[in-house]
Subunit: 358 residues, 2 copies
């Protein structure tokens, strides 16, 4: 029992600025010993029904959550976790959630799915519902890997992980794809294939992912002894139409044109490929093209099939599952972790490898 | 109490061929009255802890589920339902699940999400886990609106709904989009715009959706006094490449060519549009094109923006929520229900309306 209590206090010291409710609080308010409170809360041992009821009522009133105390005790767990998504479309969220659910299911843990679609009131009600179900942990995902406000229950000792989503809180754990590294992979690959003028057509700069991918683009250019010329970096929109427009502008006005395009997503790359073809420029012979996301429907539909950076969303989901299990077992994990992307080579980059996908 | 028992027996007569465990079974085996069994099972009334424990143990042993008895009694519900998906990609499932989750959340019901990805063993384990959580209902979805084996717990009185999925069981409730009606909408629209030779390029005939859409296509042609000429119906694949190939074949060999294409999905339509443009045929002036699915990324990326049939998956999800709540309240709903599709008109059909989407 003493060990359990020490464990509780240690983890509160580490993570809980305002202090969570401990079994000590419950015992004091109920006027019983800690041992008696523990029996009631763990539904074990001999105890009168009245005492048990009183202790449970007080624990409820002060919002005591047994997983703060006994995260390593299987029997006090609800064996459920919540996934709160703000991605109403699901393209990025779904592979993450699927891999996470699979990982947790293997441990006998069921997953509550909630969609708040960026409605703060709805999100609040979802969290209340999940806490009412006494979830053992919470995973928060978002539409794009962008910043958001931290979830309040994190302050009460409930393990919370942000996946594909970021909060400004030193005590939070955020799992994200390594956008900068992914961009560098693409540009390094193009440079290694002998491309000397690599332009970057990408999405809106308000996205952190856009800024990180630009940084990776410039870093890999520098590594290869290259540099972006004025106008070669083109932030804009996440659409095919923007890919077409940017290519028309890049390739129609000037004599010295890029011999490669690194695009911020696959839709931009797809639009770029269409525009290049319609302007009579061959891909990859004249212009190599690499996309980002490795979105099956886009890379398969592209002509030629598109080489693209894969964010490994399933690995992100699996890692979230592993971290959540660790946190539920009492481990404290904080910080921003960026997981590596990979490059899936098809025909559009001119590496000479042919795709197995088309 | 008598009313409750009658209700129980009635619903078992209606739905449960081999008979579920009733409160009568529990009472008999525990050697107590039905009133006493009810107190224990509903956690109400005065009862010794030993008797309560014995009754609950017996109920567990014989797999008695209180929602069979007391579906209309709020307090015996777990206020959770399960959603079992076999759609590993999520494009069709996600909008359904999202709308369903939203509908149930408004009633204070939380949703367990499970993904079996077509693995029967995994599905079985998921169902066991859900039953262990004492869910009040189960919704089963699939990748494509195709037939599957019924889920076993339906035989035990748990409300089960199949959405975008179909089983051969008169007692099951299946909610599906009206594929035939959706196809007829598209073809009727093209005929009303004066198109006289409407070809149909579509997916593999092993899909029920393909056969139903073909039926709708032929029915609407007949309504308009038209008929498909030989070779105008082209089943094949769900891909852009197939759309391109079919168009090349349809338009390169013959003099008399179609003036409209109804495509079985948006990817086929997108490929068809690309091939038409590259063959110098104008859309919609020479050839009107209509797709199916109204998949945002496809219809927006298409040039011109694609008119497409929308399966109203969110309405399907909402309806599933409404039906599940009704079934949880004791109503018996069975049969195959097909919900209407709608046609979203953009530029590719030549109706002269411009899209607000591009």
């Amino acid at each position: 029992m003493t060990d359990l209590i020490r464990d509780d206090l240690e983890s509160s010291d580490e993570r809980l600025p305002r202090g969570p409710r401990t079994i000590r609080d419950v015992a004091r308010l109920a006027g019983v010993s800690i041992g008696t409170a523990s029996k009631a809360l763990n539904a074990s041992g001999r105890l009168s029904a009245e005492t048990r009821a009183k202790i449970l009522r007080i624990a409820r009133e002060i919002e005591y959550r047994p997983n703060v105390l006994a995260q390593s005790l299987h029997r006090t767990r609800s064996m459920t976790v919540g996934i709160l998504s703000n991605d109403s479309f699901g393209r990025f969220t779904f592979p993450i959630v699927e891999a996470l659910e699979r990982r947790l299911f293997d441990q006998g843990i069921a997953v509550f799915m909630c969609n708040a679609t960026d409605d703060p009131l709805r999100e609040r009600r979802h969290i209340d519902q999940l806490l009412g179900k006494r979830i053992d942990g919470l995973v928060v995902t978002a539409r794009r890997a962008d910043r958001r406000e931290p979830i309040e229950p994190a302050a009460r000792g409930l393990p919370v992980i942000y996946v594909f989503s970021r909060v400004e809180n030193r005590n939070a754990l955020c799992l994200l794809p390594d956008d900068k590294g992914g961009a560098a992979l693409a540009v390094r690959h193009l440079a290694a294939l002998g491309r000397r003028r690599i332009a970057h057509i990408t999405g809106p700069e308000r996205f952190e992912a856009v800024r990180l991918r630009e940084a990776g683009y410039r870093a890999a250019l520098a590594e290869a002894g290259l540099a972006a010329r004025p106008g070669d970096y083109r932030p804009g929109h996440w659409s095919e139409a923007w890919g077409r427009d940017a290519v028309q502008d890049l390739f129609s006005r000037r004599r010295a044109v890029p011999d490669a395009l690194f695009c911020g997503n696959d839709q931009i790359a797809r639009g770029a490929l269409d525009a290049l073809r319609e302007m009579g420029r061959a891909t990859p012979a004249d212009v190599a093209v690499v996309g980002f996301d490795n979105w099956e429907v886009m890379v398969k539909g592209a002509r030629p099939p598109l080489t693209s950076v894969d964010m490994n969303l399933d690995a992100l989901g699996r890692e979230a599952g592993v971290c959540l299990l660790d946190m539920m077992a009492g481990r404290v994990i904080t910080g921003v972790r960026r997981l590596p992307c990979s490059l899936v080579v098809r025909d559009s980059c001119g590496a000479g490898q042919h795709s197995a996908f088309e």
